[in-house]
């Protein structure tokens, strides 16, 4: 099958001003720090970022926030990044807060080619405000639209050059969902192997969903266990 290895700078160059970008990770594990740094270096502006959390100040998606590259952030929790909270409160970025599992489901629904999902999560809370309410068999429910994006940035532990990916431990989190939901998925990987070198049953993201794969020459310190 086709090889999809692409130099990181070339793959990221396709991300233009105004693009929507999903970024994997829950805390440090699964966050594609190198891809984010390259996106910060290249400087695309007015981005919509879809990410579980805003990392901590000084790392990951915070680089894009500090760079003023982000117009809109769709996320479930930004409590560990005071910079993100400040930008939200100052109105410098628009933030949409989504219940974590519903964020996962909306992204997955985008990846599954659905229009959306219907849920009772958030009924009677501020999160239901402004949403499309449905009455189904006499019961109230919330329509949550599917989320897709132009690009996804992913971090894999292992990949082959067709783009089959696997993730370590809790580094999986949103990565497989975002791989499906984006029109163009970019995966950095700690180890790149040839086709046939991954167990077909152990692939977490089928390469069909991945457009570009790139091996990291080394893992910068941000990926490691450090007392911050």
């Amino acid at each position: 099958m086709r090889s999809k290895t692409t130099p990181m700078a070339e793959a990221v160059a396709a991300i233009g001003d105004g693009a929507s970008v999903m970024i994997g990770g829950f805390g440090v594990p699964g966050t594609p720090f190198c891809l984010i740094e390259e996106l910060a270096r290249q400087g695309a502006k007015e981005l919509t970022i879809i990410k579980n959390d805003a990392n901590e100040a000084g790392m990951g998606v915070d680089l894009l926030l500090q760079n003023r590259q982000v117009a809109r952030l769709i996320t479930s929790h930004i409590g560990l990044n005071a910079n993100a909270i400040r930008l939200m409160n100052a109105g410098e970025i628009e933030v949409e807060l989504v219940s974590q599992g519903i964020l996962a489901e909306r992204i997955r629904a985008g990846g599954a080619g659905l229009v959306g999902i219907v849920t009772d999560i958030g009924l009677g809370t501020p999160l239901a405000k402004g949403k499309t309410m449905l009455s189904l068999a006499g019961r109230e429910a919330i329509f949550e639209p599917a989320l897709t994006a132009d690009f996804a940035l992913l971090h894999a532990e292992r990949a082959d050059d067709f783009g089959n990916l696997s993730y370590a431990a809790t580094a999986r989190n949103f990565n497989p969902l975002m791989a499906m939901a984006a029109s163009c998925s970019l995966a950095e990987t700690e180890t790149l192997v040839g086709q046939g070198q991954m167990i077909p049953e152990a692939v977490h993201t089928p390469g069909v969903f991945v457009d570009h794969v790139m091996e990291l020459a080394e893992l910068p310190e941000v990926y490691h266990v450090v007392r911050r």
Binding site: M1, R2, G113, F162, M198, V203, P206, V208
Partner: protein
């Protein structure tokens, strides 16, 4: 239909499968396209029961009891194969990650409507994955004999059978011709060698737009 004409039709459809494509071949005639693909062609064959990277069919003696395609044939993996559940498998389909699907047809209309899963009162085994493949693949090709066993056209002005999906078909491969569904109507793209254009039109249930210049043959 002679076996030669059928194989020529399948070979012609195979030529539209390009390197890098992800492709789903429907059960029946479309599976026959496999025999006309270069084994080294870097494509990814998807089967909706949960495989990306379907390899060649295997005889029973060599089969892995856990590895079939959606049509029930025993198949082999290739280097780079992955397996997944049915929800992920159809996510590939509905998210538009199939570059091409080739499907069979009971009827296909000049506007791209396809009917291939139900004949009311006679045949309704369920849609399987046909509707999703037809509705969501980026490009849908139909492979069918040009006429049915009674000689009636399978390409029609309007489908009479319940639809699989409306306006989904891009190209039709038959034993007599290759036709494209275009905004202007049904356009002849290529004609099988030895077939006369007038005979082709009379075997077709909808008006055929002719290509500019001489008609390419296949």
């Amino acid at each position: 239909m002679s076996s030669g004409a059928k194989e020529r039709m399948l070979a012609r459809a195979a030529r539209d499968i390009r390197p890098g494509m992800t492709v789903n071949l429907g059960i029946g005639l479309p599976t026959g396209v496999l025999g006309h693909l270069d084994a080294g062609l870097p494509i990814c064959l998807h089967s909706e029961n949960g495989i990306a990277g379907v390899g060649r069919q295997l005889p029973y003696a060599e089969a892995d009891r856990n590895l079939i395609d959606a049509g029930g044939a025993y198949v082999s993996p290739v280097a780079g194969t992955s397996y997944f559940d049915s929800a992920v498998s159809f996510s590939i389909v509905r998210r538009g990650r199939l570059d091409l699907t080739l499907l069979g047809a009971f009827e296909v209309a000049m506007n791209g409507d396809l009917a291939n899963w139900m004949i009311p009162g006679r045949f309704s085994p369920g849609p399987g994955g046909a509707i999703e493949l037809a509705q969501k693949a980026r490009r849908v090709g139909v492979i069918t004999m040009h006429t049915d066993k009674s000689g009636r056209p399978k390409i029609v002005e309007r489908c009479t059978l319940p639809l699989t999906a409306a306006g989904c078909v891009n190209r039709i491969y038959t034993d007599m011709a290759v036709c494209d569904i275009t905004p202007e109507g049904l356009r002849l793209a290529e004609i099988a060698e030895g077939v006369d254009p007038d005979r082709l039109q009379s075997a077709t249930g909808a008006p055929l737009l002719m290509p500019e210049g001489p008609i390419p043959t296949f």
